[in-house]
Structure formats: structure tokens, C-alpha cells
């Protein structure tokens, strides 16, 4: 009965692993193409179901618990590489395509998508974009905001929209895709994403510093910023005070930059050296998996402060976190907190960040911290009012993950 109403064959009952930020849905639908996505959404709206979107299921903990969620819409079957023109360094991927699969296909042409978010194995393109997830490569290549050239998407009423295109430079119409980046599926369901690609570097070298006290980390990073280098990726890891910096480029160019890195920071610490390839691979894998890996369900916070507060950030995180990955170039950090973290702890961290002009959100909260996932918003915040207005314009019945985003949107 329900299956008929949703109009597609591929609908199943939900299980424990399908919960969205702790809320159990009744059903999971896996439409096979964009038309079916529209059909599922129209069916859900008819039935009064609230819908959460899922890609690889790696970020179901992100966002506040939706007020309702009867149906999970899985993009798993929208997993095709729709287009790839190597000469243009552009591809169009189905939202449900796994990042690892895409990277494998691109690597055959000496190319990559310059995004390395956590969960790189299972995460999908649509999920990465909808969550605005990124990793150390952000240092040079930015985030989805810098790499998404366009998107196709379906609104809650089944309207199929698109914006942007398959060219790097394009200012025709509103860049609606920007609004969907980080929207956690609350505005529309992404079906295809058009992406800017980069060539795989001929050579990659990693330099590692160890045991950096917060003030040393700040000094080292400032020296690196002043040095003639273009790091592709940089993370500092807590505990331990390690800093990893990856240089990518031509063989001769990368070699010279490694020398520049070593020379620039020699006066600050002697605990620095260039890693060999095996050591580097191990170090970067650790950086990618240390916050989210394992079976733990510890809370995870995302902290952003001005880059000038880097030393203060490292200082603040050291006693607080089980493990933290800081991007020194952006002043942002993903932090795994102890299971015993209380609402007061989160509010204290948030108040600290706010004093630096920064902010804190939770990317995994659990029931105990569900109320403090997002910062509070002022009643008269005109920007938040615009967000509410946008939500009403695109999803007037509040079908898409109502309550999952900032301010209960």
C-alpha cells in the first residue's frame, strides 16, 4: 500500500542503522533515477511523511534530530559517473556515487576531486556536498564551495531544478547549488553534482613536526605562511602536537619547497623531518580516521576560530579532547570529546569560541547533547530570518528533515 503510494518498487522497512540524528524512520526508499526521486517526494508529501536524505550513511549524526522523519530517501542507486571529460577537468557524478569509486575512475586519467573528507571510503558525493565535508586538502583547494560547478536537485514538491553547469566559469542565474552545500538535505535532494577536478600531482612530499606546544605550533605555522611554499594539505593533531604539511607539485619544485619548509622552521624546533612515502601514507590515514574511526559514539564537535587564535585553540583543545584534527590554515578543528561531555561543557566551549569571534557545532551529539547541536540564534537575526524564508520558499510544508538545521529549520 505504502509502496504503491511512493510509486517505486525499491522501498524497505527501516532498521536501527537507518536512524537520522537518533530519529527512527519507518521506511527507506531508494529511487533509481531523478524522476523516481521526484515521485518519491511527491508521494511523501501526499502521505505527510517527513523525509531525510541519505548517501553513504556516514553523516547521519550531523545536525539536530529532525522533528519528524518517516522516510529516508537513499541516493544509493544514483551512483553513476554521468560524464567525465578529462580535457576539461570536469565531471558530473550521481549524488549517490561513492567518493572512493569516483577517485578510482578519475585516477585512471591522472585526475582527482581535491576533496578528502573523513569517511572517504563510504561517503558519497551528494552527502559530502550536502554536509559540506572537507579534509586537509582544503588548505589549498578549498571546500565544496570551490569545487562544485553546478547541481541538479529535486524540491520537496517534485520540481526538478538545476543551476550552474559543466564549465568552470559561469555566472548565468542564481548559484542555487551554493545554498544546498551544507544544507543537510533540508532544502532539496541533490541528484547530480558537476565538479571541478584537478590533476594528480607528479610528486607529493610530507614534512612532519612533533611535540609542538601551542605557541610553537602558531610560530611554525606563521613561518610556513611566510615561506615560499604552497602547501596542499596541513593538519595539526592533538594530543601530541604533531603538524603534518604536504607539498605537491613537480619533482624539482616539491623538493625545493620541502627544503624551504625545513629552513623556515629550523629556529623554532629541531623535531622536524621529511617523511618517506610509507610514513606519510600512515600519518595521513591516521589524520583522516582518528576522530571518526572505531566503534566509539563519543560526541564530535566542529570548532572554528580566526587563524590568529591558533595557539589559543590548541591550548583549549588539549585537555578537553580525546583527539582533535586542526586545520591551521583555516582555524577549524574536528574534535572528539569524552563520552561524559555535558551540555555545560559544550556551552562553555561555545562561549570561548564566541569570544574569539568563532563558533562551535556538534557533528555527533547523542541524546544528551541533542539540544546544543547548533548555536542559539537571536530572534531578530535577519540572516536567520532569510534562511527561514528560503526554507519556506523551497519546502513550504517542511517535508525535508524539518528541524535538522540551524534555528530549528
Amino acid at each position: 500500500m505504502v509502496i504503491t503510494d511512493l510509486g517505486v518498487a525499491d522501498v524497505r522497512d527501516a532498521g536501527a542503522l537507518d536512524a537520522v540524528a537518533g530519529v527512527m524512520p519507518a521506511l527507506v526508499a531508494s529511487p533509481g533515477d531523478e524522476a523516481e526521486v521526484a515521485e518519491v517526494l511527491r508521494g511523501a508529501e501526499r502521505l505527510g511523511y517527513a523525509v531525510a536524505v541519505r548517501g553513504g550513511g556516514t553523516k547521519l549524526s550531523w545536525g539536530a534530530p529532525p522533528r519528524r522523519c518517516e522516510l529516508v530517501l537513499s541516493t544509493a542507486r544514483l551512483d553513476a559517473l554521468v560524464e567525465h571529460e578529462p580535457g576539461d577537468l570536469v565531471c558530473v557524478a550521481g549524488a549517490g556515487m561513492r567518493l572512493r569509486t569516483l577517485q578510482g575512475m578519475l585516477a585512471a586519467h591522472g585526475q582527482r576531486l581535491a576533496l578528502d573528507p573523513p569517511h572517504g571510503v563510504d561517503a558519497t558525493i551528494g552527502g559530502i556536498v550536502a554536509a559540506n565535508a572537507s579534509g586537509p586538502l582544503r588548505t589549498r583547494y578549498g571546500t565544496a564551495r570551490d569545487l562544485v560547478l553546478g547541481a541538479r536537485f529535486v524540491l520537496a514538491d517534485g520540481t526538478v531544478g538545476y543551476s550552474g553547469g559543466k564549465v568552470v566559469k559561469n555566472v548565468a542565474g542564481y548559484d542555487v547549488a551554493k545554498l544546498l552545500i551544507g544544507s543537510l538535505g533540508t532544502l532539496a535532494v541533490l541528484t547530480q553534482v558537476s565538479l571541478r577536478l584537478h590533476p594528480l600531482p607528479a610528486c607529493a612530499r610530507t614534512v612532519a613536526w612533533q611535540d609542538l606546544a601551542p605557541a610553537q605550533l602558531d610560530a611554525v605555522w606563521r613561518a610556513i605562511e611566510q615561506a615560499p611554499v604552497e602547501p596542499s594539505a596541513a593538519v595539526s593533531l592533538s594530543p601530541g602536537g604533531a603538524l603534518l604539511v604536504r607539498i605537491e607539485g613537480t619533482l624539482s619544485g616539491a623538493g625545493a619547497q620541502v627544503e624551504s619548509l625545513l629552513a623556515a622552521t629550523r629556529d623554532i624546533t629541531s623535531l622536524v623531518r621529511a617523511l618517506d612515502d610509507a610514513e606519510a601514507a600512515k600519518a595521513w590515514t591516521y589524520a583522516e580516521t582518528c576522530v571518526w574511526g572505531g566503534e566509539t559514539v563519543d560526541p564530535v564537535a566542529y570548532v572554528a576560530v580566526p587563524r590568529s587564535a591558533l595557539a589559543a585553540l590548541a591550548e583549549r583543545l588539549a585537555p578537553l579532547s580525546r583527539v582533535a584534527v586542526v586545520l591551521p590554515s583555516t582555524g577549524t578543528a574536528e574534535v572528539r570529546l569524552p563520552a561524559t561531555t555535558t551540555v555545560e561543557d559544550v556551552l562553555a566551549l561555545r562561549a570561548w569560541a564566541a569570544r574569539h569571534g568563532g563558533h562551535v557545532t556538534l557533528r555527533r551529539a547523542g541524546a544528551a547533547l541533542a539540544s546544543v547541536v547548533w548555536p542559539g540564534v537571536a530572534d531578530d537575526d535577519a540572516a536567520v530570518e532569510l534562511m527561514r524564508s528560503l526554507k519556506r520558499a523551497l519546502d513550504p510544508h517542511g517535508t525535508l528533515a524539518p528541524g535538522r538545521h540551524l534555528g530549528g529549520i
Binding site: E85, G87, D88, L89, G110, G142, R145, G161, Y162, S163, G165, K166, V167, V168, K169, N170, V171, G173, Y174, D175, V176, K178, L179, G182, S183, L187, P199, E225, P228, E230, G249, S252, G253, A256, Q257, A304, P306, R307, S308, T330, G331, T332, H356, G357, G358, H359, T361, D381, A382, A383, E385, L386, M387, S389, R392, A393, L394, H405, L406, G407
Partner: protein
């Protein structure tokens, strides 16, 4: 407009900052798309966010359409007034409010000229990357509205990648803070949609920009090819080799000859001239330059010349930058088209443009950003010959059709404005346009904020588009169009 409305607008401003006399508002009747003109009833010159908010509150309450205006260098009519409406000029808001060297942030008012941002941070070894060719005069507010590019956006990105925060007066006069100096402000990325929205979602009155550290080295080469196709192949080969140049520019014979007559850059005689600039740490930069040189030779370049010093590099750029203005030497008038094609489709689209030029018996010059496929065909015509101007426009329109058929875009950097609003349905179907209209309504339900721009309307699209005339800024040598 009722007298009480005008009084309230005047009261929102400093004394004398509301212009209503015909001779005072006349200079605001168009931007650099001079074929479209409309006379506003009033021009307001606010000095602060509060004043802009007060103006917009009045417009909102009284149902008066308003159009924000920066330096007026826009090429798509984005700042074209609404007849009988209000123009809100940000030209007086020219203060650099804050320079934060450690965090590489600059906060400016919207009337600050693009080049003034770099000037404000140059002593710290920093610069503002987006470099539209009118950068000496065009304003940051206008850049935000149009998501302006420039020759160096291939490597360093567009305006949207460098704007991290803004204060925006919403269509109802409320003041919203979008983004901020710190990355990843919680909530939807409204700022990402506002940049490039052509002034239709609100009026930005303060902008926080990210600035970059100057690269250690910048190197440039030129290469002479016997055909546009060969030069385009070289561009693809450079990219395929993993090199990401800072800029890749191409000029065909017609534009190169015009430029050479004008500024004597010493360009070699050829069918297609390629200019490639690379930047970065010195060794990396030199390795990339070597790769580019080898690829150009492999692809049949008759001559490859590396600029030996800053003076020669400046001269290479001078010839390129002069190309548009120099076309005036070979044609009494021209229409500038702005289209984008995937880089790999450049050869066939340029061939198609050549065929169209022959079919119409008109000359079309090609000078463009080859690295990102952004074409600027210059359709030459003589307005004194009956029927030639409309034919030039028709030819320019058919060039856009070629771009769309190749999977490209109707505009890479000049914007839609009024110029191309009626071409939007060529790229976007009815449903996609409806979604964009819903976004617009979310920001501006009463449709008072720069109405008639960006999205097609029946009224607008019944009218005949206008033609290029030389803008006063161009005549004065302050701005070029490319």
C-alpha cells in the same frame, strides 16, 4: 513617486545626497551597457549601512523599486535604473574599514575600487586576487553583485571564492550579517548565493575579503601558432600535463593586429597568439614554465618567447589588455559577446564562429580567457550602414547558441542583467527558472530589489535589446571590456 516618499528618502540621507533634478540623475541612466537607458526619479548617495537601510525601508513601505549601483562599469545592464524608481549609489561608501594581516582579511565598504584592496595590503606582501580588467575603477560592491572574474581566476578563483562575509541590507530594510571573518558560519551559505545575484537579493554595504600572499615568482611566455586550433590544442595539453597556470589568454589575428597597432607590444605575426602566466614558489614556477614552453613547441608553435623581466611581462599583458579598446581602430563599432564553452570544445566553437562571420559577411575578433573557455567574440559593425547593427546583434546571439550547444554558458563574467535575461530560457528550462524565482522571492517577496534583471519577464523580453556604444570610462581610458 509621491512627495512624502521623496521627503522620507531625503531625510534618510546627509543634506544634498538625494538627487532629483533631471540633469543630476541623467548620468545614472545606464551602466556600461549603454544601449539600455532609463531615467530614475531619484538618485540616493548614502554614506552608511544605516542610511541604506533607511532608504530601503522607505522603498519597501511605499512600493518603490530600487537599484543599487557601484561604479557603473557593468556590461550587462545590471545597474540599469527602473524608470521612476530610485538608484542607490554606493559611490560614497569608499572606506577600507579594517586590515587584518594575520588573518589575511580586509573589510571594505562597497564603493571601494577593486584595485584599492590590493593597495591597502600590498605593504604586507598580500594582494586581492580577482582582477577584472576595469579593476582601477570598478567597485567591490559591483564585483560582489556580478561575481566578477578576471584573467587570473583560472588558478585563484572568482569573487565568490574571496568574499567571506558581508553586511547586507535586505529588501525590507533589515540588516543581515552573512558569513564572517571566521570560516563556515553555521546556517545556509546565503552569501554564496548573494555573490553573483546581480543586486536582486539585497544591497551589500560591507564586505569582508580574503587576501592572498604574493607568490614568490611570476613568469610569462607567449607562443605564436599558425591556427586557433593548434593554440587550443596546446592549452589542453598544458592542462593535461598537470600544470595549472595563473592565466591563459588567446588572441586571434584580427585582435592581435589591432592591439599591435595600438600599443606595439611586439607580438609575433601569427594566426593565434597564446599568453601563459604561471606563479608560485620559484622552482615550481620555473618547472611549470619549462613544461608550458615544451608543450607549445610540441604543438607546433612557430615561436615561443619567455618574458626575461618584469618590463617584458608587463608589455605582454599591455598588448592583451589593450585588445578591446584597440578594436576601435579597425571597426567603428563592435558588440562584445561573453560566452563560455568547455575548453575541449574551443576549436570547434571558434571554427563555428568563423563560419558565422563568413555567413554574415562581418568580422569577428576573438580575444579570450582560453584556460577556462570564456570567449569574448567582438562582432564588428558599422552603425551608419543600415541594418548592420541588428545583424551584428543577431550574429552575437547565434554565437551564444553555439556556446550552449557545446555545453557552455551564456555568460562567464559579464552577467545576465537585462542584456541576457531573455536568453536565460536557452540554458534553463521552466522548472529550473521557477526554482530561481522562488529563491528570489524568499529574499524579496515584493520584487522591488533590482526588478527586471537576471530572470526573464514577459515585459522585458518583448523589447528589442540595445547596442554597444563607447562608455565614457572607456573613452577616458579608465576601463576596458573583455
Amino acid at each position: 513617486m509621491h512627495a512624502p516618499t521623496l521627503r522620507r528618502l531625503a531625510a534618510a540621507l546627509d543634506p544634498g545626497a538625494l538627487l532629483t533634478a533631471q540633469e543630476d540623475v541623467r548620468p545614472y541612466e545606464c551602466d556600461a551597457l549603454t544601449g539600455h537607458r532609463a531615467l530614475p526619479e531619484a538618485v540616493a548617495l548614502p554614506a552608511s549601512t544605516d542610511q541604506v537601510a533607511a532608504l530601503v525601508r522607505t522603498c519597501h513601505a511605499d512600493g518603490v523599486p530600487f537599484v543599487a549601483r557601484g561604479a557603473g562599469t557593468g556590461l550587462s545592464g545590471g545597474a540599469l535604473p527602473v524608470a521612476g524608481g530610485v538608484v542607490i549609489s554606493l559611490a560614497r561608501m569608499t572606506r577600507v574599514l579594517d586590515v587584518d594581516v594575520i588573518n589575511a582579511r580586509v573589510v571594505v565598504q562597497p564603493g571601494v575600487a577593486n584595485a584599492a584592496v590590493t593597495a591597502a595590503v600590498a605593504e604586507h606582501g598580500l594582494y586581492y586576487a580577482p582582477d577584472p580588467s576595469s579593476q582601477a575603477v570598478c567597485s567591490i560592491g559591483g564585483n560582489v553583485a556580478e561575481n566578477s572574474g578576471g584573467a587570473h581566476c583560472l588558478k585563484h578563483g572568482f569573487t565568490v571564492h574571496h568574499v567571506v562575509g558581508a553586511v547586507m541590507v535586505c529588501a525590507d530594510g533589515r540588516v543581515a550579517r552573512l558569513g564572517g571573518a571566521v570560516w563556515d558560519t553555521p546556517g545556509y551559505d546565503l552569501l554564496g548565493a548573494v555573490v553573483g545575484s546581480e543586486g536582486t537579493l539585497g544591497i551589500v554595504t560591507e564586505v569582508t575579503l580574503r587576501v592572498l600572499r604574493r607568490p614568490q615568482a611570476v613568469r610569462m611566455l607567449l607562443a605564436a601558432f599558425s591556427s586557433i586550433e593548434a593554440a587550443a590544442e596546446a592549452v589542453s595539453a598544458i592542462v593535461a600535463a598537470g600544470v595549472l597556470p595563473a592565466a591563459v589568454e588567446m588572441m586571434d589575428r584580427l585582435t592581435r593586429e589591432a592591439s599591435e597597432q595600438a600599443v606595439h607590444a611586439g607580438y609575433p605575426d601569427c594566426e593565434a597568439l597564446l599568453l601563459v602566466e604561471v606563479d608560485g614558489p620559484t622552482d615550481e614556477c620555473l618547472a611549470q614554465l619549462d613544461a608550458c614552453r615544451a608543450i607549445c613547441v610540441d604543438n607546433g608553435a612557430a615561436e615561443v618567447r619567455v618574458a626575461v623581466d618584469e618590463a617584458e611581462r608587463a608589455l605582454m599583458w599591455k598588448g592583451r589588455r589593450a585588445a578591446f579598446a584597440a578594436m576601435g581602430r579597425v571597426s567603428p563599432a563592435y558588440y562584445v559577446q561573453d560566452g563560455v564553452v568547455p575548453r575541449t570544445r574551443l576549436p570547434e566553437v571558434l571554427r563555428g564562429i568563423g563560419e558565422l562571420a563568413r555567413e554574415y559577411g562581418m568580422r569577428v575578433g576573438n580575444v579570450f580567457h582560453a584556460g577556462d573557455g570564456n570567449l569574448h567574440p567582438l562582432v564588428c559593425y558599422d552603425a551608419s550602414v543600415a541594418g548592420e547593427a541588428p545583424r551584428a546583434l543577431e550574429l552575437a546571439g547565434r554565437i551564444l547558441d553555439l556556446c550552449i550547444a557545446a555545453g557552455g554558458s551564456i555568460t562567464g563574467e559579464h552577467g545576465v542583467g537585462v542584456d541576457k535575461a531573455c536568453s536565460m530560457p536557452k540554458m534553463f528550462d521552466g522548472a529550473a527558472l521557477t526554482v530561481m524565482d522562488r529563491v528570489r522571492a524568499a529574499f524579496d517577496p515584493n520584487r522591488l530589489c533590482n526588478p527586471g534583471k537576471l530572470l526573464p519577464t514577459p515585459r522585458l523580453c518583448g523589447e528589442v535589446p540595445g547596442f554597444h556604444r563607447v562608455h565614457p570610462l572607456e573613452a577616458a581610458g579608465l576601463a576596458e571590456r573583455w
